[in-house]
Structure formats: C-alpha cells, structure tokens
C-alpha cells in the first residue's frame, strides 16, 4: 500500500497563520485579561444607554427620523448614481471590451487607486472641499459604490461566456454593440446583485459619515456622544439598528432571489 505524502503544506500554512496572530496581538496589546476587564465596562455603558436607566426623550424622535431619512437618502442616491456610472466605465476596465491592452491597464489601475482610499478619509477630504453637510457624504459613497460595482462587474465579465460576443463580432458588430447585446444581458442579474450589495454597505457607512461632518444620523450621534447624552445616544443607536436591519435584510432577500 502506498503511503499518503506528508501534508506539509497544511502544516506550514497553519504555522504562518499562528505566527501572524501572535505578532498582531502583540502590536495591539490585545490579551484575554484586557478582554475580561473590558466586557463589564462595556455592559455598564450599555446600561446607561438603555431606557431603564433613564426614560428615552421621545420628543427627540422627529430629529432622529429626519437625520435617518437623510442617511437612507444619501445611501440610495449614491448607490443608484455610482452603479449607473459603473456600466460605461466597465468598458475600459475589462479585457474583452477594452479597446486595447493599454486602455485596460489604465482603467484597472484607476479602479484600484479609487478602492484603496478608505471611505472616511475620502469623506473627510470632500468635506474640506464642499463644506459640512450631506453633499460630501453623497459624493464619497458614489465614488465607493462606483469602485466596488465596477470591480465586481469587470471580474464577472471576464468569466462570462465569450461565444455570443464572437457571434456579434462575426456579424460585424461594434465593440459597444458587443457589450450591449452579448455581455450586458448575461451579467444583468449580477449587476443588480452587486448594486444591492453596495447599498447594504452604503447604509452602514452613511450612518457613520456624520463623524467627519458629512451629514446624516452620524452627525447627531457624534454630537450626543461628545455631550454624554446617553439616553439620546441609546435612542439613535436603536433606531439606526432597526433601519439598517430592515434595508439589509430586504436587500439580501432580493439578492438571494436573483442568483
């Protein structure tokens, strides 16, 4: 009977992961002791936020509603605009559709550059340019959505059945016609799924965009935290949780229907 070879690859991989874990734990000062001490403090904080500690000020609800609505509007608008921009740009960011290798490399490079900038940094820069308010938040999320949807879409297009494209090319179709007739119908469900996925992330990010003054629920959350208004903070967190949960679960349900 032949012996199975020693699975050295698996052991090497496990060793590397363990080494990284130890190294990063040292860097962050994380330990089980710090965790054990932190949990009660966190629970105490939650206690202060809850309405049992001090009744929630219900007259604060209208402002929460307005700001949450602003957050939701920012994320919806950003998703629609960003996803719409992705469709034409994918023409230069994918090998079968780009005019040549140079255009493709340039397109991909631009895409990677956009995606390396963290959302909050982007929002911060935009606030510096456009001032406080929802506009810089909206722009930041448009750029983020555009980056994510274009990247995912480009990757999908490179795996799509090339047969129809060949047929359209053989019939004398242009590059644009190849995209619209052979590629886009094939990726339509993926496109919608990626846009919904971007929406789910956008709603969460939009909720904290206010931290850098870019509008939405985050703005009053940040203010109330700074003024130690625990009851208000509790209310904001609860309301945000409900809204994010509703949008998130509806969106993932829709996505599950698509695939």
């Amino acid at each position: 009977m032949p012996k199975p070879p020693f699975p050295w690859r698996g052991w090497v991989a496990a060793g590397v992961v363990l080494a990284i874990l130890v190294w990063s734990a040292q860097g962050t000062g994380a330990s089980l002791k710090a965790f054990a001490e932190g949990v009660p403090q966190m629970l105490a904080y939650f206690q202060k936020l809850s309405p049992s500690h001090k009744p929630w000020p219900l007259d604060y609800l209208p402002e929460i509603k307005d700001r949450l609505l602003e957050t939701v509007k920012i994320s919806f608008a950003a998703t629609v605009i960003g996803a719409a921009l992705a469709l034409p740009f994918v023409m230069v960011a994918t090998r079968p559709l780009a005019a040549n290798g140079f255009v493709y490399t340039l397109g991909r490079g631009f895409l990677n550059l956009i995606r390396t900038i963290p959302d909050l940094v982007l929002a911060n820069i935009l606030v510096a340019g456009f001032g406080l308010g929802p506009l810089p938040g909206l722009l930041a999320l448009i750029i983020f959505t555009f980056g994510v949807v274009t990247k995912l879409l480009a990757d999908t297009i490179e795996t799509v059945d090339a047969g129809p494209m060949e047929a359209i090319a053989a019939a004398g179709g242009t590059r644009l016609q190849r995209a619209v007739f052979a590629i886009f119908p094939q990726i339509a469900p993926d496109y919608i799924a990626y846009s919904l996925y971007a929406l789910e992330i956008n709603v969460r990010v939009a909720a904290v965009l206010g931290l850098v003054g870019a509008g939405g629920i985050g703005q009053i959350l940040y203010r109330d935290i700074n003024f130690f208004m625990y009851s208000r903070v509790g209310m904001i967190i609860a309301a945000t949780f409900v809204v994010v949960f509703l949008i998130d679960s509806t969106s993932s349900w829709l996505r599950s229907k698509l695939v």
């Binding site: 129809p164 047929a167 019939a171 004398g172 052979a182 119908p185």
Partner: protein, 293 residues
C-alpha cells in the same frame, strides 16, 4: 472568368504559441457552392473558416470574399464586409437570457446605425426580416421566448435565422451539428443545404462526420495538419479517400449514422418527436455502424 465567392491565396496561419494551423493554403470557391471541410480535430478546419471573416487574421497570404480582400481591411471596412458573412457555431453562441427575436436581430447590427440598435429601437422592416428568417427555419412562434428555453436543435436554428437576417452572400458553419443528436443534426444540415440553394449562398461547413459530409456536400475539402490534402466533388469519394485525409482507419465515431434519417423523416412527417425517440435512434445508429463493419 466568374469572380470567386471566396478566394484563399497562399494563406498561412501561425499562432503566437508557434503552432502552424494553416500551411500555404490556396482555394477558390464558386458562388452558391456547398462545401464541406473535413479533417481530424486540430487539422485547421476552424482556422480556415475563421480566416474568411477574419475572426482569425492570417500570418501571410490573402483571403478575398466577393473580390474584397479581407486581409487588407481596416476596422470599419471589416465590419461592413462581415455584415454580409453569416456564421454558425458549434455551441450556437446565442445570448441565452435574451429573447429569440433579439438574438436574431443581432444579425442586423452591422446594417443599422449604431445608436438605433443600442437603444433597442429596431426599424419595423428589420423586425419583420428577423421574424421571416425565423419562419424559414420553422420556429417563428418561439420569437418572444427566452433563447435558453429552446432545445439544442431549436437554438441552432435560431443561430441560422440570425445569419439569414444578415442577408448574407456567404455562410460559414463551424461544426454546426457536433452538439446535436443524429436526427436533429440531419435536420440542421438539411436546413443549411436548402437555404444555401434558395439564396445561392456560398457555404463552408466544417464537419467531422464523413457520412454527413458525403450526404450533403457538393464539394469536399480535406485538411490534414494545416494542408489541403483533398479537394474535389463528392461523387468520386470513397471511404479510402477519407482514410487518406484522416491518415488512419475510419472508426465508428467518424460516422453520424444514416439509418436514423428515414426515422427522422417519419417522425417529422407525424409532426412529433417523442422524448423516447433519441434513445431508440441512438441504438439503431449503433447497430447500423456495427453492421457496416
């Protein structure tokens, strides 16, 4: 002398990996000829056919279609030339999620201004032409179904309708029946032959099956390792000729089988093809082949 519909002059194709798919091929095809190209897989059949519409660009030599030198065309000229060259593929190459009609309308793309087609706003005359093309292959009633709801044979007929909608002068078919069961394969070949006759279409068909080649071709071109080793009318051909082209004995899988043909005719006459038919047909095919040896 009449101008050739398709002319190959000393065409050689070497791929970037060094493989030489065509070696100094010279061929001339008359308008309306129905030519079957045979050869083992890898003999260069596909490359030969793709050089006609320049899906493959030859390394050297010239290919002309109706006097237009394909090898010298720029992007725009190439698209205009391709507009009149229909092509059918082994895997149909339909957009599976689009409607049958939209797939057929793809044959009109090079005949119309780009912006109109991109908005999906096809002139009524083109839609009518697409529907007539579907009618000519007998599946007009499927026009508004999604392409992937059709059977393999029906999908290949949609692909034929797409080529017809181009109003072509030349029809290329790259292994059009390789993915189909024997009765459907014969139906598709009969469709191709009939349309070629009716439209005076110069037709090049790649086939692996020698019995089908003999049954439908006016003329047979045999390729071996990128070289033309046979070119002549189908009448003079014997099994020995094919063994020379293939450079080996003929095997059962080189035949599609003919016994199923009259069965198909009978089934078609009744207007039904039951789902049990293919199995029964396949058995009878095998019997025919073993009986032939």
């Amino acid at each position: 002398m009449e101008q050739p519909a398709i002319l190959f002059e000393n065409v050689t194709k070497q791929f970037p990996n060094g493989h030489v798919a065509l070696k100094n091929v010279s061929l001339s095809f008359k308008p309306g000829e129905f030519v079957v190209v045979v050869g083992l897989s890898g003999a260069g059949k596909s490359t030969l056919i793709r050089c006609v519409n320049r899906l493959v660009t030859p390394t050297s030599g010239r290919v002309s279609v109706a006097g237009v030198e394909m090898t010298g065309l720029n992007e725009t000229g190439l698209r205009a030339a391709r507009a009149r060259i229909g092509m059918i593929f082994q895997n149909y190459n339909l957009v599976r999620r689009s409607s049958v009609l939209r797939n057929v309308l793809a044959g009109r793309l090079a005949h119309l201004p780009s912006w109109r087609t991109l908005l999906g706003n096809f002139p009524l005359a083109d839609v009518e032409l697409a529907l007539r093309s579907l009618d000519r292959v007998g599946i007009m009633e499927k026009a508004y179904q999604r392409a992937d709801t059709l059977s393999g044979g029906q999908q290949q007929r949609v692909a034929i309708a797409r080529a017809l909608a181009q109003q072509p002068t030349v029809l290329l078919a790259d292994e059009p029946v390789a993915s189909l069961d024997p009765p459907t394969a014969h139906q598709v070949m009969r469709d191709l032959k009939r349309l070629s006759r009716e439209e005076n279409l110069t037709t090049l068909v790649n086939l692996h099956f020698i019995d089908m080649a003999q049954e439908y071709a006016d003329r047979i071109v045999g390729l071996r390792a990128g070289e033309v080793v046979f070119d002549g009318p189908v009448d003079g051909m014997s099994e020995g000729t094919f063994e020379e082209i293939y450079n080996r004995r003929i095997r059962p899988d080189d035949l599609r089988g003919t016994a199923d043909l009259h069965l198909t005719d009978r089934a078609a006459g009744n207007g039904v093809l039951t789902s049990t038919a293919p199995d029964a047909l396949e058995n009878s095919t095998q019997e025919t082949i073993s009986a032939a040896h």
